[in-house]
Symmetry: C2
Subunit: 146 residues, 2 copies
DNA sequence: ATGTCTGCAAAAGCTTTGCAAGTAC
DNA sequence: GTACTTGCAAAGCTTTTGCAGACAT
């Protein structure tokens, strides 16, 4: 993702273009693996040794408010952030603490139709998010990244 | 839930029967609405003004380890606990911060069959948990309980 | 009697906040 | 020039930990 694309994302939301914001956004698109605020800071450290953790939280909050990223909660962990804003599901790897996004329109359709038919009393569904929990069985995903 | 039933749950796991553990367990079955540690402490206050918050965390952890309760994570919130140990899904009310359990065997079957057919490469699924996010449309569920 | 549990308080870890200085527009 | 943003440090909040005394078995 080049500089112009990144700044456009900010400008489109009327956000001021600061080097810190651009750098954080770049890292988010680079990592893509649901980093925590602390992981963002570490990744940024070579480029931006001076950036404050408070500023990173601040920027991530701003991005959330402006629909650039989403928060993702995991079990017994801290907050992680996700640049993927399309509706999607999550695969939780118990053996490597990895969270992967799972896109599947067929599944979305299946769920939508199921609840259109079945319904929940006094409740208007806005969205679904399926958590798929299990074990990775290959080697390339064994990296611990807690 | 009477005293004997509560103590049996503890005894079955080889846990010592202490008044604090029984009281916490009783409250969990009484509330059933995914309380936080702090909410448990408040609910317990009339019966047990002296119980320490550290002890509550301690007890809740022990219960988790022994399969009596589960942790539930919510977006931008603290940990909540759930006595419902059967596989189930969660309904998140955006307008009242309520989390309800949703049991649906038909849905479980649907998901199981879908992924049996479709599969995820290099991944062995252990369980599913669907988050159903939306708004309650009636009045009786409007109580804020954050 | 012994090993476990509780209460208390302090500490830890993630996140938020306040404010002065700096920066984007 | 003005309003917003950053850096820094302190504070806040939930959760964990250490230890002495108490309790269940």
């Amino acid at each position: 993702m080049n500089y112009n694309k990144l700044t456009k994302i900010l400008a489109d939301r009327g956000l001021k273009i600061t080097p810190q914001r651009v750098a954080v956004l770049e890292v988010l698109y680079e990592i893509r693996n649901h980093p925590s605020a602390e992981e963002v800071r570490q990744k940024l450290h070579s480029k931006y040794p001076s950036i404050a953790i408070g500023t990173i939280y601040n920027i991530l909050d701003t991005f959330c408010e402006n629909g650039i990223i989403k928060k993702v909660k995991t079990d017994s962990d801290f907050v992680r952030y996700d640049v993927d804003m399309e509706n999607h599901h999550h695969i939780y790897g118990l053996n490597n603490n990895l969270i992967q996004n799972y896109h599947d329109e067929e599944l979305d359709k299946l769920l939508k139709e199921y609840f259109a038919k079945k319904g929940i009393p006094n409740f208007q569904i806005k969205e679904f998010s399926l958590q798929i929990i299990g074990q990775y069985t290959n080697d390339q995903n064994q990296t611990k990244q807690k």
